[in-house]
Each structure stands twice: as structure tokens, then as C-alpha cells.
């Protein structure tokens, strides 16, 4: 008999980066008011922002760590202090210092040159400015604002930002939202005026180029009445970070009859704690579409949330999570139906292998005023071996009598018969398995622009490398 087939984990250690100078920056103890004030000064914050940072710090210190999800005790708070120390430009390495293996990995993944450089934080400034101006030229004439959040606060949209910033995700939300409020840095501000339909997707990775900006970046997007936008968050390459915590925040405001599609492919390095908070508020007749692919990180807590506030608001969530050795990814989504005639649709897939853990966690609340609302949730899991884990935790809280709610969960493995079929046409076992997994994840890849879909399939291929028969 042939040996049982194992799917081996790829060696992700190539993404790890040792900063020899790390100790030189380490500060004693936790996050202090002094550090927060220093950041604020460095950022040239407005007074209200400094107040928000200090208030957030207080909440952070008073709030306990979450106890209900994957273990986060490996989280090194000293690193966070190290990270948030202003002027800590050594955090990101020179592109020429990036180990050859990592460069090779980028080659294999087909990551665009501009993004590769932005990952190392060098040369990206030039490249990103260039790209930024191109985008600006395309959409600026229509009145679309796409800029970095820090400078926008001081500009003509300052009041608009103050009105929306951390209103959807208040610092009181959870410990890491508070941390974010205290130390946030970098990120994007997008405003799409009434009735403007942006034809080409806006892509964020060109903007995450400030040293370490990928760690606590804040994305604020306001799509006004009847407008239409597709925003792509580019965490698409293996991020290469010293600090091992990512606590970003995304706040999306979708106006009346407006539509926003928010796509993300995340592939953090495998020492990363990804504790990101994403939330959208949707007005009458508006639509939010989340497209989400989670590949990397050691631990993830990620539940994009849609608050369907207006009559007829709609949320669509399409996600895939791939978890390998040493990974515990707790992902899913939340929908809060507040308005009548609201609809939510959730379609997720999870893939686990080599002892990786996946938890799909969803929560749907249909509140008393949300008459005639609908929610449909479907999640499927693919287990590539018997040592991996996949859990489904769907929660529903329905407070109306006429809600139409459905939940469907499926779990399966790759059938030997399918592998044999594909191999009988000349595909190697590895290619056959990668093809099956890509096919399983096609709910997401079908929704992505072609180059991102290709990149995602390359990621799957890379994860499936080392398959032995």
C-alpha cells in the first residue's frame, strides 16, 4: 500500500526577520502616557486627537485581555512599546538587507515591484507617490479624496474626520481598539462625493509605506449618497515585521443607496497576532461587500462587522481562511440588522492543514425594528489532514417574528478519487491538490480583480508546496 498522504507545512521561517538592534530600543515596562504624548507630538496631532489618544490609553490600561478566543499570551507587549516609540525608523529594514529567500518568495508570489519595496519601507515613498498621483489624476476630477489620514486631519476634511474617527469602533469596544486609539499611525482617508462612481479600484498598499505603518494603521472611508467604490487593502504580501502585533482599524461609512466593496488578502508572517477591527455602517438602500482572504498570522481575531442601519441596507461577506501549522485563525463576521428590510449574506470557506486551527465565528443580530429582514449564512470547511481542526460557532439573536434566517455548514476533505482524476490527465499530485484547494476557495478568488485572484492562487500553491504522495 502507498503511504498515507501528508500535506507538509511550508517553511515560513523565511519570513521571519531578526532585528539585531532590537534591544537598543527596548523600553522598560508597558505603554506610558509619555510615549503616547511623544507619538502625538511626532504626528503633529490636533488637540482633539491627543485627547482621544490619552482617553484610549486609559481605557487600554483598564481593560482586560480577551479570554474567549485563541490564546494570545505569547504577545510581547515590550515589542509594542518598542514599536510605538517615535522616530523608530530602524523598525523597517533597508530593501537591500532583506534576505535573498524573502526576495525569492516575492518573486514566486509575483508581488509587484512597488509593493515589494514598500514592504521593506525603502524606495516606496517615491514609488507610492508616483502611483498615488496616477490614481489621483484618474479620480480627483470627480472630487474623490484619497490621501493619508494624518495630513487630512489638518486639511479641509478635518471636521469630517473628527465627526467619524473612532465613532464606529470606539476605544471602549475592546482592549485592542483602545490600544489602536492610543497609538494609531498611518493609514488612508477616502471620501467619495454624492453620486460619484469610481470605476477603478483604489488600492491601499501603496499608502502603507511609512515605517511600520502597517501595524496600527487606520482606514476611514466615507462613501456618500449614491456613490460607488471598490477599495482593496493590500496586505497581500508576506509582511515582514519586527513587532508581532497588528491592531489596525477600518471604519467604513456607506451612505444612502451607496455601494462599497472592501477587499483584503492578508498574509502576515506567522509570528503575527492579527487583532484587526473592521466595521461598516450602512444607510438606507446602501450595500457593503466584504471580500476577505486570511492566510498568514499566528493568531487572528478578525470579524468584519456590518451595521445595517437604514431601510433596505445590505451586507455581503465572502471570505476564505487558510490555516497551517502553528496557526490559530479565529475569523468570521458580524451583522447587526437595525433597519427594516435589511439583508445579510455570508459565504465563507476555511482550509486547515498540518495541525492548523480554524474557527468560524459569526453573529447575526436582528433587532426589533428590523422588520422583514433576511440573513443567510453558509460556511464550508476543508480539512487536508486529520490533525487539523475546524470549528464553527454561529450565533444568532433574532428579535423579530418575520425574520428569514438560514444557516448551513459543511465540512469535508480532498477526495482521493478527485486527485486521481486530475493526475490521470498528467497533473502532479501537488498541482492536483493545489487546484482542488483553489477551486474550494473560488468564492473569494472569483470576486477579486484578476491580478489579485492570481496572487491568491499563487499563495495557495505556495502553501500546498511540499505535498508528498
Amino acid at each position: 500500500m502507498k503511504e498515507k498522504t501528508y500535506v507538509e507545512d511550508i517553511d515560513r521561517s523565511l519570513y521571519d526577520f531578526r532585528n539585531e538592534d532590537k534591544d537598543a530600543f527596548r523600553l522598560e515596562g508597558g505603554l506610558s502616557e509619555e510615549i503616547v504624548r511623544q507619538i502625538s507630538k511626532e504626528k503633529n496631532d490636533t488637540d482633539w486627537m491627543l485627547d482621544l489618544r490619552l482617553k484610549s490609553l486609559k481605557i487600554f490600561n483598564e481593560t482586560p485581555f480577551p479570554q474567549w478566543g485563541p490564546a494570545i499570551d505569547g504577545l510581547n507587549m515590550d515589542n509594542i512599546v518598542t514599536y510605538v516609540r517615535p522616530k523608530d525608523n530602524k523598525m523597517t529594514a533597508d530593501w537591500k538587507d532583506v534576505p535573498t529567500e524573502i526576495k525569492d518568495t516575492f518573486e514566486k508570489l509575483g508581488i509587484p515591484q512597488a509593493e515589494r519595496e514598500s514592504l521593506a519601507g525603502v524606495g516606496a515613498q517615491y514609488d507610492s507617490e508616483l502611483v498615488y498621483h496616477n490614481i489621483k489624476k484618474e479620480v480627483a476630477e470627480a472630487g474623490v479624496i484619497y490621501t493619508d489620514l494624518e495630513s487630512a486631519i489638518h486639511g479641509e476634511y478635518g471636521d469630517m474626520i473628527r465627526e467619524h474617527f473612532m465613532k464606529l469602533v470606539p476605544p471602549t469596544d475592546h482592549k485592542f481598539a483602545a490600544l489602536h486609539g492610543a497609538v494609531w499611525s498611518g493609514g488612508s482617508f477616502v471620501y467619495v462625493p454624492k453620486g460619484v462612481k469610481v470605476e477603478i479600484p483604489l488600492q491601499s498598499y501603496f499608502r502603507l509605506n511609512a515605517p511600520g505603518a502597517g501595524q496600527f494603521e487606520h482606514t476611514l472611508i466615507i462613501v456618500d449618497e449614491g456613490a460607488d467604490l471598490h477599495f482593496i487593502e493590500g496586505c497581500s504580501a508576506p509582511k515582514y515585521n519586527v513587532a508581532n502585533l497588528h491592531a489596525g482599524c477600518v471604519e467604513l461609512f456607506v451612505g444612502k443607496n451607496a455601494k462599497l466593496r472592501y477587499s483584503t488578502i492578508e498574509n502576515w508572517s506567522k509570528n503575527m497576532y492579527n487583532l484587526n477591527t473592521k466595521r461598516a455602517l450602512v444607510e438606507d438602500g446602501g450595500t457593503i461587500q466584504w471580500i476577505s482572504g486570511s492566510f498568514g498570522s499566528h493568531v487572528s481575531y478578525l470579524y468584519p462587522t456590518s451595521v445595517l442601519q437604514g431601510d433596505g441596507a445590505r451586507s455581503e461577506f465572502t471570505g476564505v481562511t487558510f490555516s497551517g501549522a502553528g496557526q490559530d485563525l479565529d475569523t468570521g463576521c458580524k451583522v447587526i440588522h437595525n433597519g427594516p428590510n435589511t439583508t445579510s449574506y455570508v459565504n465563507t470557506r476555511s482550509i486547515s492543514k498540518s495541525g492548523g486551527g480554524n474557527t468560524f465565528r459569526s453573529s447575526v443580530n436582528i433587532n426589533p425594528k428590523a422588520k422583514n429582514s433576511k440573513s443567510s449564512i453558509s460556511c464550508a470547511s476543508l480539512m487536508l489532514d486529520s490533525e487539523s481542526r475546524s470549528d464553527t460557532i454561529p450565533a444568532m439573536d433574532i428579535r423579530t417574528k418575520d425574520a428569514d434566517v438560514g444557516h448551513e455548514a459543511k465540512i469535508g476533505s480532498i477526495s482521493d478519487e478527485t486527485v486521481f482524476y486530475l493526475m490521470s490527465r498528467g497533473l502532479s499530485e501537488e498541482d492536483a491538490r493545489a487546484l482542488i484547494v483553489s477551486g474550494f476557495a473560488d468564492n473569494v478568488s472569483k470576486e477579486l480583480p484578476l491580478e489579485y485572484a492570481i496572487e491568491m492562487n499563487n499563495l495557495i500553491r505556495l502553501e500546498m508546496k511540499g505535498t508528498i504522495g
Partner: protein
């Protein structure tokens, strides 16, 4: 003298603990058409799987030579690349890749090098026309939601496109209506004419054979070939069944 394309020497094979092939011998020369008939459970489909190297079927003893090379221990993908093809009795649905992309991918895998997109499309279009397949199937996910008949046609389409030098057709005619059998049979005929490859046709019925020239017929009973003959053996089976070959 014709060249041997396949030589099966005294092969015994099992699935889990059940031995199904009990010493099977078979020799096929280039371009020949062989028919394998036999009662249910005789090991007909097992033979196809064993030849194609399905890891679920364990070879206990014996040897298989393909184009003079020993492929007894070869992997399925290697065997496919050497030019063997198995048309599945129950083709598998594979979401995420279109029929057209799959065939192109497989073609490039087997033959190495790239095929010109224009040539490929033209070839695919013509082959689909021959099989009365709606062109839209080319852009649908492989076998996903295809009817039984369309799945079988898609197998023959792959046969025509991949141009193997030995094709095993495992009950390609089962579950097809009269018209579909005729169409599939036309496809097989086209393969013989254009590619000139050898064929092993595993079948229960004889409808699919009507428009084909059969060189040899083998009766497979209880994991062994108990009788070989020419095309007239097919008629004999049609008249008399397998009864006289089954030893109780």
C-alpha cells in the same frame, strides 16, 4: 511486425483485502482496438484503474509495460504523460477550473511547452462541434453541473484534445441515450482516424461498438481473461451471454 504498446504480464491486484485481478495477461499493439467484456464484478474497471496507476489499487505481482517501459510502479501523472488516457465511468466534478483551461493545462503538462492559444481554441471548437457540445461548456467549471451525457462527452473531448496513444474507455456508453451513444461513438472514431491510437473499450453493451472496427475481444471473468477472439466474439456474447464462461 507491429510494435507492442501495452503488455500486461500476469498482474494480480487488490483493493484493500480483496484480490480482484488474479493474474491477468494482455498484449496490445499500436493502433489496435480491443474490447473487454465481462459480467458485473469481473474486474473490468479495476483493470483500467490498475493500468492508470490508481494508488487505491495495489499491485501484488506481475508487470506492466507501456511502450516497452516498465510502468508497474509509476505514478498516475507519469503514466499519463507517457501517453495513456483513462476515460472515467463517473467523471469527477472539479470547481475552480474551466473545462477549456483544464484541457489546456493538461495538454501543456503532457506535452511540455506551450500551445498557441489560437490553435488550441480552433481545435477545441472543432472537437466540441463534432461531439455536439454547446460551446458554453468550455467556460464552465470542469464537469460541475454537467448532465451524465455531457460528462461523458467532456471525457471524449479530452481524448480528442490530449491525443494519447492508448486510451482506456471505461463504460463510456453507460447511462447514455441512443443519440448520445452515437455522438460519443463518432468522437471515438475521429480519435482513431486522426490520432491512430490504440483503444481498450470496457463495456457491458455493444451499441458503442457498432460504428467501430474491433480487432480483438476479450472476455474477463473473475479477474482473468478467459477467452480472446476477434470481433465476432462480440456477436457471440450478444447472442449467448457470459454464462458458458462463468465457472461455478
Amino acid at each position: 511486425m507491429a510494435n507492442k504498446i501495452l503488455e500486461v504480464k500476469d498482474v494480480k491486484a487488490r483493493v484493500e483485502d480483496n484480490e480482484i485481478l488474479h493474474g491477468l495477461n494482455l498484449t496490445i499493439n499500436e493502433g489496435e482496438t480491443h474490447v473487454i467484456m465481462g459480467p458485473n464484478g469481473a474486474g473490468k474497471s479495476t483493470l483500467g484503474n490498475v493500468l492508470m496507476g490508481n494508488p487505491k489499487y495495489e499491485k501484488i505481482s506481475g508487470q506492466i509495460f507501456f511502450n516497452g517501459e516498465d510502468i508497474t510502479e509509476a505514478g498516475t501523472d507519469e503514466i499519463a504523460k507517457k501517453g495513456m488516457f483513462l476515460s472515467f465511468q463517473n467523471p469527477i466534478e472539479v470547481p475552480g477550473i474551466t473545462l477549456s483551461n483544464f484541457i489546456r493545462n493538461a495538454y501543456q503538462n503532457r506535452n511540455g511547452g506551450r500551445i498557441r492559444l489560437w490553435d488550441f481554441r480552433k481545435d477545441l471548437e472543432n472537437s466540441m462541434k463534432l461531439l455536439s457540445m454547446d460551446p458554453s461548456y468550455a467556460n464552465r467549471d470542469l464537469n460541475v453541473g454537467f448532465s451524465g451525457g455531457e460528462k461523458k462527452k467532456a471525457e471524449i473531448l479530452q481524448l480528442l484534445m490530449l491525443k494519447p496513444n492508448l486510451a482506456i474507455l471505461d463504460e463510456t456508453d453507460s447511462g447514455l441515450d441512443v443519440d448520445a451513444v452515437k455522438t460519443v461513438s463518432e468522437g471515438i472514431k475521429a480519435y482513431k482516424e486522426k490520432v491512430g491510437g490504440a483503444l481498450i473499450i470496457i463495456t457491458h453493451s455493444t451499441r458503442i461498438l457498432e460504428s467501430l472496427d474491433v480487432d480483438y475481444t476479450h472476455i474477463l471473468v473473475d479477474g482473468k481473461i478467459v477467452k480472446s477472439g476477434d470481433a465476432t466474439l462480440v456477436d457471440e456474447i450478444n447472442r449467448e451471454g457470459f454464462e458458458k464462461y462463468i465457472t461455478k
